[in-house]
Amino acid sequence: MIKARNVSLVYRDGTVALQNINLDLQLGGLYYVIGPSGSGKTSLMKLLIGMEFPTAGFLEVMGQPMRKRETAKIRKLRRDIGPVFQEFKLISGRTAIENVMMGMRFLNIPLNKAKELAKNTLSRVGLEHKTYTLVDRLSYGEAQRVAIARAVARRPALILADEPTGNLDHDNAVKIFTLLESFKDKNTTVMITTHATHLIDDCRTATILRVEKGKISIERGGERI
């Protein structure tokens, strides 16, 4: 699913975001990427979705080498990725269902099927009553769930959630983690970054990737209890 060999990322201003990362992540896994703010979690996510490219080493996502010269192929690869952004990136002026469908309109999914998938997913994230509400009128937590629905509705092979709990309180943050974890299956890998390590203490099914000063170490796998 994800293969990294001695991957480094150095930004133009000289900031070393990631250095010599080696990873072999499997399809159907659940991964938490933890570490303090500025440790390189978001940089890792950016590499995996092709927003940034390794300045050294080799990175492959679902068989696609992540190189700048392959941006067209990477754009196609993104159709198999469900990204949940830190700042949601919902499209304002549109309803919740329009936002969820936005991720499916350019795929080979018939319109009716896409609409059905969007409704079902909104229902699964507990927002069936907000299906036709403008996203601008949703609360922070609701907007976050629409962003999750948009990412997962098209059944991606890889769900990447970057700090999805943001400013949510403990209970709601755990709900979001639990919701995201529920989308993991044998065909779907879920990777979540968070700086709130205390929120995943009771998650035992996940593999923990600790990022510190641009370096990654694998801590443990377990099961949420």
């Binding site: 092709g50 754009r75 993104r78 499209i91 936005m102």
Partner: protein, 292 residues
């Protein structure tokens, strides 16, 4: 085609987002295209005038003495390539014609004891063959002098040529201006929607999907301008034909329906093409700036 409803809604949103600018670009494009229609109309009418004048190009051949048998000379002239009609005008007919031209002043012809006019041959030729025809007629035995109105015809041809050049310049100006207006509007639209575009790219949307609503906006604005120009030019030509037909009936106007059909087709197809091209220019310049 499954997304056509979505594309139209997005295009509507883009237009509404920049409502005032888009209204002005629609009006501006409409007026520029109207100007194009106007030039094309004048061009069409003057071309028709020249074609008719060319067909009507007439020269007169005078005899060196009254011929005993003008039929021989007429038959010789008819055989010349570029001549399409030859007619003998007798001295009396020449006088009557002059009386008609002089109208109320024709009494001055009564001052002459004898008819001052001579018989001559009226020859209609193709203007583009005027030189060889003139030379051939001058070489015919019995012909003393050939009078042509080439100067006037050349002047009219010159004016038409100038109009033609002006037409091309206007077409170039209209095309460039429309392309600039539309590509600028598209760039502005893309700028206002840059976050949405980034998000769609991160979701894996192809550029064609992202760009289509913008192309649609360019098409709708310019085609709308073309429609406006077509309506204005139709009103103008209808009124103009009514007035010209009444006050200047001798001007050989081309058939109104044919002229209108040509101009309206040009305006609509041209505006559609310019709209799409302008949008693509706008899109290409932006895609260079936003990779990923």
């Amino acid at each position: 085609m499954k997304n056509i409803g979505y594309f139209l809604r997005e295009a509507g949103r883009i237009i509404r987002y920049n409502r005032v600018s888009n209204i002005f670009s629609f009006l501006g494009t409409g007026l520029i295209l109207f100007l194009l229609g106007l030039v094309v109309a004048v061009w069409g009418i003057s071309s028709q005038l020249v074609v008719l004048l060319q067909q009507e190009a007439e020269i007169s051949a005078y005899f060196d003495k009254s011929p005993e048998n003008p039929e021989d000379i007429i038959n010789s002239i008819k055989l010349i390539d570029g001549v399409w009609n030859v007619r003998y005008v007798g001295a009396e007919e020449a006088r009557v014609r002059m009386e008609n031209i002089l109208g109320d002043e024709s009494y001055i012809l009564d001052l002459f004891e004898k008819n001052p006019f001579e018989p001559y041959i009226e020859i209609r030729i193709h203007l583009d063959q005027i030189d060889p025809v003139l030379q051939s007629i001058k070489n015919i035995k019995g012909i003393d002098y050939v009078r042509d109105n080439r100067g006037v015809l050349e002047q009219i041809k010159g004016i038409t040529r100038a109009l033609e050049i002006l037409g091309y310049l206007v077409i170039a100006a209209v095309s460039i201006t429309t392309l600039v207006i539309i590509s600028h509007m598209i760039r502005q639209g893309i700028y206002h929607n840059r976050e949405q575009i980034k998000t769609l790219r991160l979701l894996g949307a192809p550029d064609s999907f992202i760009g289509f609503p913008f192309v649609l906006v360019g098409f709708l604005l310019t085609f709308g301008g073309g429609l406006l120009a077509a309506v204005l030019i139709t009103i103008l030509i209808n009124r103009g034909y009514g007035q010209l037909g009444g006050t200047l009936p001798f001007i050989p106007l081309p058939p109104k329906d044919r002229l209108l059909l040509g101009i309206v087709t040009l305006l609509l197809s041209g505006s559609a093409a310019l709209g799409i091209l302008g949008s693509l220019f706008g899109l290409s310049s932006i895609s260079k700036e936003n990779h990923g």
